[in-house]
Amino acid sequence: MSAVDRLLGRHRAAGYRLRVDPVVCDGIGQCAMAASSLIHLDRWGFPVVPTAELSTADVGRAQRAVNACPRQALWLEAID
């Protein structure tokens, strides 16, 4: 079980995708600072997240972005 799975309290999924709820997101930008290699901000300050499945190395970075969001607008979606 990976650290992410332990944190989320679930069994290992085949893969993960980073998702953002644009309604909850206020464009604060912490996510882009926590995971600058994955997330960039559009010209209005809202995050553009990768839509493809994350590589194993990126899952940890994405988790940091999820943790950094004060609005809890980001989450890791399991792909089975």
Binding site: R19, D21, C25, F46, V48
Partner: protein
Amino acid sequence: MTITTTRVTTDTLLTGPVRLRPSGPADSTSPSVRESYEDHVMQYGRRPDVSAALLARIDRVGLLGHGGAFVPVAVKWRSALMRKGSLTVVANAAESEPLAAKDGTLLRQRPHLVLDGLMTTAQALGAERAVIWLHGDDVTGRAALEEAFLERGWSGRDVPVEIVDGPVHYLAGEAQAITRATLGGPALPFPRRAVTDPWAPQTIVHNVETLARLALVARDLPNPATRLLTVLGGQRMVVEVDHSTTVEQVLIRLGWKVAPQAVLLGGYAGVWAKWDDVAGLAVAESSMRAAKLTLGAGVMVPLDDDACGVRMTSDLVSYLASMSARQCGPCLFGLPALADHWAKLADEQGSCRELDRLREDIAAVEGRGACRHPDGATRLSTSALQTFSAHLGAHVSGMRCRHRSQISLPGTRS
């Protein structure tokens, strides 16, 4: 009076074409016939009980939704049957698209066919509530329904039907907004985070035309091979034409003598298509989709040869920006940005650089909204860039745009 034993069936949904006021609810300015309950029962008999074979029949007939997305009815039914939460069935009669009026017209002409479809769905899926959802300003639609309610014979097997007035807003007819409203929330589209609790209350939304067709399929009658269209030319008209009718034939039938330069398909959040690309296409959604186009909820706006498509697009995009649900950044900031670019282009104040910025912002907004509303604006913009590419060249090179004729689009600035 003699009662004929052979059942008379029609192969159309509407009792006839109507001419409407240029905007607002589907109030006809020409005489239009409302089918009484007595006539309805004479023609079709009372609503049959739901049989176990109904879902299979809907599948076999291939009945699709007619609100614009063309989702198979059987798919919606199956997903509703798989979940366990209490169910609300909604007949969506809110055509918030300012031009669309085919559902309002159908509701006024054949209310009992629509009610049959709604109650059949409610009974088949074991719904607890059945709702007819109207656009907030559809006063005459409500009156027509109330009249139909009074003359209708209700029975114990019928789920009680409520009429609910939605807000007066462009997004009021969006299925997710209706779902949220029937569950006690605001009438705004859902964010995309999926509901996973199978016991959560659920809502299934069917368009009014879909339900009328369903009422026929439930009686084992053929689903009419027709398409209902709202066309804004000199006048706003609702017509019903055979699937195989081409766009050109529709316009000829409505009295167009000169070919337009382009046609707006599907309404304000629709797509532009050059006349030569669309004239020969049949109005059936399958033929439109084969050409990577869609007629959505059946709206067509032909654009005169001497009208400016750039100006029209500018008006449409700023309308869509003003109708944002104001829920998410990409819509709240992205759509006004798109509208600004279009306004500059329309006013001949933009250079080629403005076109590049527009393309960049389209890419920045596309697919990132909480709902599909911003995608409507990007799709319209992209289609306008293609359709009016030559004319846009004149707009950015400082040549005066000589196209001065205007189509007055309800709700927009000019």
